[in-house]
Structures are given as C-alpha cells and as structure tokens.
C-alpha cells in the first residue's frame, strides 16, 4: 500500500492527547492501523507526551491508601485481562470494525448510486461509510468544520488531489469540493465530520436532515 496523504501533526498530537472527538479519533486510529509512517509519528507524539507528563509538578492525593488498594488488586488484575482490540476484516481496519460492532455495513441509498452507513452521529459530529460508484461524484459540499475522509477501497479525486487506499483527505471550512470516485472500482470511504456538511445545491440540502449527513 502506497500512502501519500497522512494525518497532519496537529491532529496526531490531539489524538495522542485524547482531545479529538470520537469520529476523528476513529479515522486516525484506522489510518495508523495501515500506515507505519503515522504509527511512528503517533509513538513519537506519545514519547513527547510522556516527557511532558514526567516534567509535571506532582499533585498530592491520598497516595498511600490508593497505592495499598492497587497493590492488593494485582493478582486479580492478571486474571481479568482486557478484551483484545478488534481485528481488521477485509477492507475495514480494526477501529472501523469496532465502529461497525463487528458486523457488515448496512448500506442505505442516498441517490445516484451513492450509499452510506452511519456509524455514529451526535454532538461530537458524525462518522459514516460512503459507497460511491466508479466515476460518480459526491455532491459539491462545504463544511461547517473539519472533515476527514479515508479511502478504504478504490480511490477518489477532487480539487485538492488524488486519494487512494489508506490516504486521508483533510478538508476544513474553507474547502468547497466535489470528490469523484476513480474509474477502477466503487470507492468506499470512511468520513468523519464535527459539523453537518453544507450542500450547495438545494435538493441535497433538503435531504440533509433526513440522511443526517
């Protein structure tokens, strides 16, 4: 896999710090699952985070009591190991399989052959899978905030470049773009937003509340 569009450093740092909304964190985790370059960058951010942690001025609590409680539970802890992280399956990396709860996507038609599966939708933005037939365009849209799109199958291109499997497009509110799926296969992409998309054409705008995109 040759990945050329990566997670920007500021988002990687925010992911390491735990301050990204869950929808974006899922895209970052999915990309890191398939991109060793970004795995190295995440681990470096964690080394920096660890260095900051080490340098913090300690804050005292009732450490003696807490320490005794933790030490008393060490044997039990070994008997109750954490559930393993979900494995990837087919084109879907582990974090996407976790968001799918281990099931195949249930596609809903959006018109023009485009389909979507909503994985999460709420105050923290939305996370969905998009299925775009070869050569089809996603309606021209702008963003109230940030949108991260990771290609899982096929490819797409827009005003900003060409995106193949593993690539992540970062679109902010200044970008109005019309992604078009590559001709080789249907494009399946993971898309995360922190605010609803704004479609410029009237009809998609009317459909927006219905489809929660």
């Amino acid at each position: 896999m040759s990945i050329s569009h990566h997670i920007p450093a500021r988002l990687m740092r925010a992911y390491a710090a735990g301050s990204l909304p869950a929808s974006f964190a899922t895209v970052v985790a999915a990309h890191v699952s398939v991109c060793d370059e970004c795995r190295a960058r995440l681990e470096a951010e964690e080394i920096a985070g660890g260095a900051v942690l080490e340098n913090l001025n300690p804050v005292g609590g009732d450490e003696a009591r807490l320490r005794a409680a933790v030490l008393a539970r060490l044997d039990d802890a070994l008997e109750a190991p954490e559930a393993p992280a979900p494995e990837g399956h087919g084109i879907y990396p582990g974090p996407v399989m976790a968001a799918l709860k281990g099931r195949a996507p249930r596609w809903k038609p959006l018109g023009a052959g485009i389909r979507q599966t909503i994985l999460a939708s709420g105050d923290e933005g939305s996370l969905r899978l998009l299925y775009i037939p070869p050569g089809a365009a996603v309606p021209d849209h702008g963003h109230g905030g940030l949108e991260l799109t990771m290609v899982l199958q096929g490819s797409f291109g827009d005003e900003t470049g060409h995106y193949g499997v593993g690539d992540v497009e970062v679109a902010d509110d200044s970008l109005e773009h019309t992604p078009i799926a590559g001709p080789e296969a249907p494009c399946i992409a993971l898309a995360a937003t922190d605010a609803p998309l704004r479609f410029r054409a009237l009809v998609p705008r009317l459909l927006q509340p219905l489809f929660r995109i």
């Binding site: 925010a14 990204l20 964690e46 920096a48 660890g50 260095a51 005292g60 494995e87």
Partner: protein, 191 residues
C-alpha cells in the same frame, strides 16, 4: 544502571527500567516505584482536565492496574515508560468520559517479535531523554503551550490553529524520534 554483585540487585533510577522489571520479573517492588512516581503526575495531568478527587483516584487506579496487566506488551525499542503510561492513562480517562472504548489502532502484527535490538533501545531511550531535556529548555510561555497540547487542554479551534506546536529544539527532537521509530518499526517488519 548496573547491577552490583556485592549488594545484590539494585534498583536503577529510571522508570523504564522499573517497567522492564515488572514485565520480565513481575517485580512488585518495581511496580510500587512506578506507582509512587506516576500517580502524583497522573493526578496533575487529570487535574488539568478538571478530573480530581475520587474520579481521579479511579482513573489512576485503573491505569496503574493496566500497567501491571499489560506489561508484557511494553517494547522499549518503541516507547519510554512515560510514553506508554501516558497512552494508557489517556485511554482510561477518555473511556471514562465517553463511557465507551476510545478508538485504538490495531496492534502491530509481527509473528514472534524478536527481543529488541540493544542499540535500537539505547538510541530510542536517548531520544526520549533528549526530548525531555528540550522541553525543560523552553521558555515558560512556550512550555505552557506545549504542555496544554499534550495534556489535552486545547479547544478544537486551538487544535485547528496548531496552538501548542512544538518549537525549536523540541520540534527537531520530535523529528529525530520519528525517524528512529520508523527505523525500529521497519526492522520489526523485516523479521
């Protein structure tokens, strides 16, 4: 850092060595040292996100129990003890806030991972030490901004604006750490 045959085993003054002792020997004394070192620092980190008192106790307790549980997964050619515990504590705290598991990357799949190469370990731990020193050399204002970024105190707007961007030597040290990790991952993949 060396063992003295006369006095038996001496505990080195290095959290990463304590974590290795926990991993390799289920060493409870080493774990207690990790707890004493990290619990008050984790408390400081959590307080910056308004997690205090009993809520902070719970996160610290869960995080430190996971350190004990998952010690076998610690790889000193890819993380310092502080980096690894930072990750575990962030995960625990995010899980508690969201009441659902934080999205995590798949584990690196390497069949029969070899014991880490000693020179790679020395080089990586050296990068971690120099990164910490570079942080200490920042001006108080710069250091405050970087701390906010890594302690999860930035708003979405500040993340977009890249406030808290590592500056100067911290930035170049970060780049060297990335190069080192990239190399160590490549070696793991080549096995």
């Amino acid at each position: 850092m060396s063992e003295s045959p006369a006095s038996g085993r001496e505990m080195p003054d290095d959290p990463t060595a304590w974590l290795i002792a926990v991993r390799d020997g289920r060493d409870r004394a080493a774990f207690a040292r990790l707890f004493d070192f990290y619990a008050p620092r984790l408390r400081a980190m959590l307080a910056r996100q308004n997690c205090t008192g009993a809520a902070a106790d719970d996160v610290i307790q869960d995080a430190m129990l996971r350190v004990w549980q998952k010690a076998a997964q610690f790889d000193e050619s890819r993380a310092s003890a502080s980096a690894w515990i930072y990750r575990i504590a962030r995960n625990r705290h995010v899980d508690v806030i969201r009441k659902s598991a934080r999205p995590m990357p798949e584990a690196l799949k390497v069949e029969d991972p070899p014991a880490p190469d000693a020179s790679e370990v020395v080089a990586l731990q050296g990068e971690a030490t120099r990164l910490r020193a570079a942080l200490q050399d920042l001006s108080p204002e710069q250091r405050r901004m970087v701390e906010m970024a890594y302690m999860g105190e930035l708003t979405h707007q500040e993340i977009s604006d890249d406030t808290g961007l590592p500056l100067g030597t911290v930035k170049s040290r970060l780049r060297l750490a990335i190069a080192r990790l990239r190399n160590n991952l490549k070696d793991l993949r080549a096995q």
